[in-house]
């Protein structure tokens, strides 16, 4: 069953593609289907060497000495680099995207298991790995901070003693909302519900791990870096600033990327090491991490310990919400989000409801774990925000003995309230929330499901129905408020229409599977009437695309999509002047229809965009002030974020004997405004829903008392397969963003943000007859069983 309707028919191109929005096969598929993609590890340059990283087996240990002599003596080894080598170059430490520092290679001590200690460069990847075994590091293990809740204890070891004057593991305190107003609302409330809610550490785990090939040309001094980055332009600037390399001589190429999900936003030591390796050896150097390195050292996600409280009247009108967060950032604060918001956009936790008061404070701490935190399709921590509000609303429903759907409907924002300023300062652009929720309930057959549940409970069977209603703010962002490391989050876009009417559009964003080569061609097609197959999308190469901040936080369509629409409109405006010259009339006398300017009142007289393109490059005499050729460029600075939303309903069956959860159905109704290519949008939603099932039921990076990472391979870090995922049922409503040129809101992360709460709410609903009101993710059979027994354990640590 599906409630997705195809977009209204648009003219089809000779190739059968919509000249504008609609379903069409992806242009990028032709190479992937033939095994002809071009991923970083596919690169094989003449003379290329291979790098491998030696990593710390300890979570916290002092380094007494590193002996690399045996490794250097191994035939085929070209160089071994240590922290000491880098310190001599001033490169032992690098800045993170949060104005902290991170060791490229450890010098003084190691601070998490898997931290980078040495780098071997050899003739083959096998020899490089062999050499790692020959490096002798003398460590003195130190006490470990494995539990964020103990990070600020008086006797906790100080992890960041590299920072002058640092005497504890505190990173920052940050707050949003009105504390006094919120406390007053709580004091006056009939009902207050409080719950400790953990969003445990998980990992984006894209199928392609991180890696790079660096080539510093010793003659020209030009550095070319092929790398798994979601933000090639930002990386180029950071490399220029960190390494003192001239920015005009750095070319960052992000070729085909095997999934990103935020894992490929930060700059990792391995990338820097491949550059240093190329400088040292004068040869191209490839570094590709293995799966354990990816899971143990690169950007994790979440790790938020949240205490949430909700206040309401006795009939279920929400009055206020507050959340205290303890944020585990690992050993280096390496999160990637707009500078002004150290906790990302977490303060959107007020959700989709109408109430006057809210407050949160976030305390961030260092622990002996890998750095990261903002990743895994999180929309800058809106995953945590959406989860906590949707979980605590369900706890309130349980307390009030109200149906969770009814409680939500009673509190959802109303269409006439938009634009709506939330108690923590966000300005939601548009929405008709109740409509979306009704569509989801209709698709699910909500009333029938509740009847079925009651019948089953009477028979001792435990099914659960979970609802989640989420609102995201995506498309970072307005330059005034949002920058990363001082780089404003506006995106450039260039469009050139060639003489024959075929076009190239150059984007600053980069696809990791989102289908930009198709979607952006459709945006330009929609604006200019050029068939999408005649439009080439160029991206992922800093020498050949305009500056912009990259693809993450669901920002490609809200920011670069707007840029693409506007640059096409700029070309259309110029085309009008050229058409007027060709038709010997005034520009004002011309009217636009898709692909053509024509004379008002005389539609037979007109010039197609293809004819205009040739005119623009030909001998036609152009009016004063009109340059030849048909191209334009823009920089789009979004006036606000866009606010997609959705209602998700999950149906599960739980075996109380084993704690096994089976996701039987999942209904997802998203409103992301108009859908440029509905097929691609649905695909993105499907993927995010699988993430949600994975995080809710399976995925976890836990640690033991020694700081050992217990999720360091796919044997231990469990990802959902085709067996855990149901046949997703999608629906949609369409509420355009009023400030976006084509009304589109962004959708890439919606499902990852919205779905975990629906799954958890369904499981808790199923086992609520056992008196369970909350249990933490992942709801593995063991954890569900323990919750049913009334003896839940912390999921994030494994202690004996």
């Amino acid at each position: 069953m599906t409630a997705v309707e195809d977009t209204p028919s648009v003219p089809l191109s000779p190739a059968g593609n919509p000249i504008g929005f609609g379903r069409m096969p992806r242009k990028e598929d032709v190479r992937f289907l033939r095994g002809q993609g071009n991923y970083v590890d596919d690169l094989n340059l003449p003379g290329m060497l291979h790098g491998a990283v030696l990593r710390s087996p300890f979570a916290h240990a002092r380094i007494n000495s590193i002996d690399t002599s045996a490794a250097e003596a191994l035939p085929g080894v070209k160089a071994v680099i240590t922290g000491e080598t880098l310190a001599g170059l001033g490169l032992a430490w690098m800045p993170t995207l949060s104005y902290d520092t991170q060791a490229v290679l450890a010098t003084d001590k190691v601070r998490f298991q898997g931290q980078e200690v040495a780098f071997v460069i050899a003739e083959s990847r096998y020899i490089a790995r062999d050499a790692l075994e020959l490096i002798d590091v003398d460590y003195d293990p130190l006490p470990v901070v494995y539990d964020a809740k103990k990070a600020l204890d008086a006797d906790a070891p100080v992890i960041r003693d590299d920072k002058e004057g640092k005497t504890d593991n505190h990173i920052y305190d940050w707050e949003a909302g009105d504390k006094d107003k919120t406390e007053a609302a709580f004091a006056a409330a009939d009902v207050v519900v409080t719950e400790d809610i953990l969003y445990p550490r998980v990992h984006p785990a894209p199928m392609e791990t991180c890696g790079s090939v660096a080539h510093m040309d010793p003659v020209t001094g030009k550095l070319t870096l092929w790398t798994t980055t979601q933000a090639p332009h930002a990386h180029r600037t950071v490399y220029a600033l960190v390494a003192g390399l001239p920015e005009q001589k750095i070319q960052v190429i992000s070729p085909d990327i095997g999934g990103g999900f935020g894992n490929k936003v930060p700059i990792y030591p391995g990338y820097v090491l491949s550059i240093v390796g190329s400088i040292v050896t004068g040869k191209p150097v490839k570094w590709m991490e293995d799966r354990s390195e990816n899971l143990m050292s690169t950007g994790f996600a979440r790790d938020y310990h949240m205490k949430a409280s909700i206040a309401s009247t006795k009939d279920g009108k929400i009055l206020a919400v507050k959340v205290d967060v303890l944020a585990d950032h690992g050993a280096f604060n390496g999160t990637a989000q707009p500078t002004k918001y150290p906790a990302g956009f977490f303060h959107i936790f007020t959700g989709s409801y109408d109430y006057p008061a809210a407050y949160c404070n976030v305390k961030a701490v260092y622990t002996n774990k890998a750095p990261g935190g903002v990743a895994y399709a999180c929309s800058f921590r809106i995953t945590e925000a959406a989860y906590v509000i949707e979980r605590i609303v369900d706890c309130l429903a349980a307390e009030l003995k109200m149906d969770p759907a009814e409680l939500r409907l009673k509190n959802l924002l109303k269409p006439e309230q938009f634009p709506y300023t939330t108690p923590t300062g966000w300005e939601y652009d548009s929405g008709d929330y109740e409509k979306t929720m009704r569509v989801a309930m209709e698709m699910a057959g909500y009333e029938e499901l509740r009847k079925e549940q009651a019948e089953k409970r009477a028979r001792g069977e435990y099914m659960g129905i979970g609802i989640s209603f989420f609102t995201e703010g995506v498309g970072a962002g307005p330059r005034k408020h949002m920058d990363i490391l001082g780089l404003g989050m506006a995106d450039g876009c260039d469009l050139r229409v060639h003489p024959t009417g075929k076009a190239q559009v150059r984007l600053s964003v980069q696809t990791q599977g989102q289908g930009h080569e198709t979607t952006f061609a459709q945006i330009v097609a929609h604006e200019l009437g050029i068939p999408p197959e005649d439009i080439e999308v160029i991206h992922g190469d800093t020498d050949n695309t305009p500056f912009g901040l990259g693809t993450y936080g669901s920002r490609s369509t809200p920011v670069s999509g707007a840029a693409a629409a506007l640059v096409a409109r700029k070309v259309r405006d110029k085309a009008r002047l050229i058409a007027a010259a060709a038709l010997e009339c005034a520009p004002d006398d011309l009217e636009w229809e898709l692909g053509r300017w024509y004379v008002k009142g005389d539609p037979s007289r007109g010039r197609t965009i293809q004819e205009i393109a040739m005119d623009a490059h030909g001998p036609l005499e152009l009016p004063d002030g009109v340059e030849g050729h048909l191209d334009a460029q823009v920089v789009y600075n979004p006036p606000n974020l866009t606010y997609p939303y959705g209602c998700y309903i999950c149906v599960v069956d739980v075996d109380p004997g084993t704690g096994q959860v089976k996701v039987r159905r999942f209904i997802a109704v998203d409103d992301c405004g108009p859908r440029i290519n509905p097929t691609i949008v649905e695909g993105q939603v499907h993927g995010g829903l699988a993430d949600g099932v994975g995080m809710a039921l399976m995925e976890l990076i836990a640690f033991d008392e020694e700081g050992n990472n217990l999720g360091g391979s796919f044997m231990d870090y469990l990802l959902p397969t085709s067996m855990e995922c149901p046949d997703w049922e999608l629906g949609e409503t369409v509420t355009p963003s009023p400030h976006h040129p084509i009304g589109a809101k962004g959708v890439g992360e919606s499902a990852t943000v919205g779905s975990p709460a629906a799954v958890v709410n369904a499981v808790i609903d199923a086992i609520s007859p056992f008196g369970v009101r909350h249990a933490d993710m992942p709801l593995t059979p063991a954890n569900v069983w323990r919750a049913i027994q009334g003896s839940p354990v912390r999921t994030d640590i494994a202690v004996s």
């Binding site: 096969p25 033939r34 993609g37 199928m207 392609e208 799966r291 599977g513 995010g688 397969t721 085709s722």
Partner: protein, 162 residues
């Protein structure tokens, strides 16, 4: 040591270290980059190829084990310039996004259809359960394999390519 294999119908002989994994042999020695590597532990299936028509995870299979055998990779699916139905299915049904798991998925999907030309949805889901995709949530992969089942190569075409 010397290894002789028939890869996508062509016999090749190479000297390899005994420890060389089949996935590295295919990618680094034969320079066929369509087969991907994803996990080292046989969990993800990005490296799936066929050895004598059976799907094998080439990250945990030595190149020397394939000596004298026939290997088929994603590059071998297309015949005489015509995409295999499984490839067409993935395109028609948007069965791929980043493309990284896709070669492995198509190799298990094709192998499934060769044994069971009309699998049920449950059989398809079980058939691809050894392969992980992080982008698609599997729904469209299942649909892609169903599409391929419904659009098999015609007998005539099979004879031409045989």
């Amino acid at each position: 040591m010397q290894v002789t294999v028939t890869v996508n119908g062509q016999e090749v002989t190479r000297d390899v270290e005994p420890r060389t994994l089949l996935v590295h042999f295919i990618r680094d020695d034969l320079l066929m980059r369509g087969t991907h590597w994803g996990c080292d532990t046989s969990n993800c299936g990005a490296c799936t190829v066929w050895v004598d028509d059976e799907p094998v995870k080439s990250c945990t299979y030595l190149a020397v084990q394939a000596d004298g055998k026939s290997i088929t990779t994603v590059e071998g699916l297309e015949k005489n310039g015509e995409l295999d139905p499984i490839q067409k299915g993935f395109m028609e049904c948007h069965g791929l996004q980043c493309g990284y798991c896709t070669p492995g998925m198509m190799m298990v999907g094709r192998a499934l259809l060769d044994k069971n030309p009309h699998p049920s949805e449950a059989e398809i889901r079980e058939g691809i359960s050894g392969n992980i995709c992080r982008c698609t949530g599997y729904k469209n992969i299942v649909a892609s394999i169903q599409w391929a089942a419904e659009h098999p190569v015609s007998t005539e075409a099979s004879e031409v390519t045989a």
